[in-house]
Symmetry: none
C-alpha cells in the first residue's frame, strides 16, 4: 500500500488562540486535502506573533514525514500580518517585491473605486522563487514555496477568500501531482445503534480487508461510519465492504451521502407524497426548525406547534386534562394524544409529537431528566416510544429531535 | 506588567484531522482559559494515534514557557482511545486502576439501567498520582498530573461533558492558583449596529487608553465588543472604558455577561412578569427553540406555532385570507395579523410573529430572498418592522430569529 502524502496545517490568528473566534479553516482545509488524497497529520493554531509563526513552520519543516505544509492567515496589510516575514526567515529566503502582486493589489482596489493604501505596498513582498496564488476576491494573495523537499503553501485567513483560492487556484495546481494518490472512501450515516454495537456488528466481517480504515463518528445526530482504502485494490475493497455494511446495519443507515436526517426524511415525504405536522414540548421548536432547514420543505410541512404549558396542550391540541392529570404531561399517553391532535388540526398524513424532561430541573426518580416520549399518528393508528437520554439540556433536546425524525423515517420506509 | 501563565491546548481526534468534524473544543477551551488569566500560545490537533499524541504532549512539555498543558479527547472506552497510554509513556508514569473511577463508571452505567461493559474496565486506568476530575454526565473522567514543573490536564472530548467538567470541577480546582493573574476584561454583546458603526462610535473616545485592547467579533447573533487590559492600572482603565462604551452604544448593548439574546429576553420577561407566544413562518421554529433553550422558560413561554402554509396561518392564527391575497404571505400586514392571532390564542402579554423569504427560492424583484417582516402585538397595539438580510438560507433564518428577539427585548425595556 502506497503511503499517502502527509500534510500539516498551520493556522494563524490571535483571535483564535484567545478563543474569541473558533477556527473553521483548519477543519475545512483538512476535509479538502483528504479528498485530494493527502492525510492531515496535525493542525496547529498559533497567534499573530512572528516567533510563534516561525516556530510552528520550523517544527513542521523538521517533521520528517511531512510532505505538504499549508499555512493560512497573516497575509493581510496590517501590522499584525507577519506570516511572510516569518516564512522568509525560517526558509532563509529573501523577500522581493512581486510586480504581479503589486498590479493585482492596485487593480483590486481600483475595482472597489479606491487607491492603494501605502501600507499595502508591504503586501506585495513575497519570498524569492515563490509561485503566486491569485486571490480573485481580495488583495491578499497566497504563494507556493519549495524548500528542502517539502511544499509550503501560504493562504490568506479570511475563510471566503481562502476557500475560493483553494478551489480555484490551488487544487488545479496540485491535482496532477496528487491525482494518482486519491483514496476511495464511503460514508454511512446511521441512527438507532450505539457506536459499540455498530463496531461489534461490522468489525469482524471486515477484518479480512487489511487495507481498510474504518472510523466511527458519534454525535447527537447519530453515528457516522467512514471507510477508506488507498491501495491498488481500493475500489474493489470499498465495493465489497459497502455490501457487507449495508447488510449488517440495514435500516439503521439513514443516508450514505448526506449527514442531515431532515433531508432524508424530506426526500421520503416528497417521494411518497406524504405530509407531516409536529407538536413539540421539551424540544421547543427544534423539530420544526430541522424540518424547515430543507429548502422546499413547505411541500410536506405545514404546521408545527410548541405547546409548552398543559393549558396549550389542552386548548390547542385537544389533549384531555384527565390524561395529563392521571399520567403526567411527560407520558406516552400525552405524547400519543398530542400526535393525534396535531395530525387532526394540521390535516396531514402524519402527526409527530414529543414530550419530555430536558432539565436541568423537573426530573423525578421514576422520570429522571432525559426521559422522553415520542409518538407518531397516522391513519393506521398511533405508536409511541419511551427513551432516556444522557447529557445536558442541549444534548437531550438535540437527541430527542433527531430520534423523532428517525421514527418518522422508519414509518415512511416500513 | 506581570507575565500571564502560558497554556498549550492539545486536541485529539482523527475525525478532526480528517476534516470530517470541525473542532469546537479548542476555541471553547481557549476562551475559558483566557478569562482565567492564562494566555493560550498554541492549539494543536492530532489524530487518535498513540505516537502522534505522545509527540504532541512531548513537544508541549519541552516548550520552555508553557505552564499548563490541556489535553482533550481519547479518554473513552473504545480501542482508539489511547490518550492515557500516551500520557503515561511520555511522563514515565505507571498506569493504575482507580477504584474511585471504576465505581464512577459502574454507578453511571447503573443510573442508565445498564451493566458496565468489559471494555470499560480499561477506562478506569489512570496515571499514578493523577488527581481525578469527575464527569457528572458520562463515564469518561479527566485528571490532573504534575510533571517537571508543568500542570497537565486531561479532559474528555465529548463537548458537553468536557465543558461541564471544566466549569464544575476544573475551574474551582485551578482558580485559587490563577486568581491573582487574571487580566481585567469586559464584553459588550450588541445587536442593531454594524461593526464599522460601532468602531466609529467608540474607537475615538477610547484612544486615550494605551494599555487597552479592543476587539470586535461579529456573528449572526450581533457584534460583541471585547476590551481587555493587563497593566497595574487595568481596573481603572476598564472601569472608565465601560462607562464610555455604555454611553455611546446605549440600548444596542443587550448584555454584558452572556452572549445569548434569549437569556436577556427571558430575564426581562421574568422580571416584568410578562409572557410571550410566538408565530413563525420562515424561521420554522427557530425562535421557539431559542426561547426554550433557557431552563425555566416555561414561566413566560407557553405556546409557539409554525404556520408554514397559508391555510395554517388562516386556520390556526385567524389571519384573514383576504389580507394574504392582497398583500402576500410575506408582508407587514400578515406579520401583524399573525402576531395578534398568536397573542389571542396563547393568551399572553406579547405576541411575536415573523414571515419572510429564507430562500434559496421564492424571491421576487420587490421582495427578494432575505426579505422579512417582524411584528409584535401587546395590549398597547401592534408594531412591525421590515428587514432585508444577506447570506444563505441558514444565515437569514438565524438573523431573523435574533432580530425578532431583539424587537421583543426593546419592547420590554421601552
Amino acid at each position: 500500500m502506497k503511503k499517502p502524502p502527509l500534510t500539516e496545517i498551520v493556522i494563524i490568528g490571535s483571535e483564535l488562540t484567545s478563543g474569541d473566534v473558533v477556527d473553521i479553516n483548519g477543519g475545512w482545509l483538512a476535509a479538502r486535502l483528504s479528498t485530494l488524497g493527502t492525510r492531515v497529520e496535525k493542525i496547529t493554531i498559533v497567534g499573530d506573533r512572528e516567533w510563534a509563526i516561525e516556530d510552528a513552520i520550523d517544527k513542521a519543516l523538521k517533521s520528517i514525514n511531512i510532505d505538504y505544509i499549508i499555512v493560512s492567515g497573516g497575509l493581510g496589510s496590517t501590522s499584525d500580518d507577519v506570516t511572510t516575514k516569518a516564512a522568509a526567515k525560517v526558509t532563509g529566503t529573501r523577500l522581493v517585491i512581486s510586480d504581479e502582486l503589486l498590479d493585482h493589489i492596485k487593480s483590486t482596489m481600483a475595482a472597489r473605486g479606491k487607491e492603494m493604501h501605502p501600507s499595502q505596498e508591504r503586501q506585495s513582498l513575497i519570498p524569492q522563487r515563490a509561485k503566486l496564488l491569485k486571490n480573485s476576491i481580495g488583495t491578499a494573495c497566497g504563494y507556493i514555496l519549495h524548500h528542502k523537499g517539502k511544499v509550503l503553501i501560504f493562504l490568506p485567513g479570511v475563510p471566503g477568500e481562502m476557500r475560493k483560492m483553494v478551489d480555484e487556484v490551488l487544487i488545479p495546481e496540485l491535482s496532477e501531482e496528487l491525482a494518482a494518490k486519491a483514496p476511495s472512501s464511503k460514508f454511512f450515516h446511521t441512527f438507532g445503534l450505539p457506536e459499540t454495537r455498530i463496531e461489534e456488528l461490522i468489525s469482524e466481517p471486515l477484518k479480512g480487508f487489511e487495507e481498510l480504515d474504518i472510523s466511527y463518528l458519534p454525535s447527537s445526530e447519530g453515528v457516522t461510519v467512514k471507510i477508506l482504502s488507498r491501495g491498488d485494490e481500493s475500489e474493489r475493497i470499498i465495493e465489497e465492504s459497502v455490501r457487507m455494511i449495508r447488510e449488517k446495519l440495514g435500516d439503521n443507515i439513514f443516508n450514505e451521502d448526506r449527514r442531515d436526517m431532515e433531508e432524508t426524511v424530506g426526500n421520503l415525504l416528497n417521494m411518497k407524497k406524504k405530509s407531516v405536522s409536529v407538536a413539540e414540548s421539551c424540544t421547543g421548536g427544534a423539530i420544526g426548525k430541522k424540518l424547515t432547514n430543507v429548502p422546499g420543505s413547505s411541500s410536506y410541512f405545514s404546521l408545527g406547534v410548541v405547546t409548552y404549558s398543559n393549558e396549550a396542550k389542552t386548548k390547542i391540541l385537544g389533549v384531555q386534562p384527565s390524561i395529563i392529570e392521571e399520567h403526567g404531561a411527560v407520558s406516552s399517553q400525552v405524547a400519543a394524544a398530542m400526535a393525534q391532535g396535531i395530525r387532526r388540526i394540521g390535516r396531514t398524513d402524519y402527526g409527530l409529537a414529543v414530550t419530555g424532561i430536558a432539565g436541568p430541573d423537573g426530573g423525578s426518580p421514576e422520570k429522571p431528566v432525559g426521559t422522553v416520549y415520542i409518538a407518531i399518528s397516522s391513519e393506521e393508528g398511533t405508536r409511541f416510544k419511551g427513551l432516556r437520554f444522557g447529557g445536558d439540556r442541549n444534548d437531550i433536546r438535540e437527541r430527542t429531535s433527531q430520534a423523532a425524525l428517525d421514527i418518522l423515517r422508519r414509518e415512511l420506509i416500513s
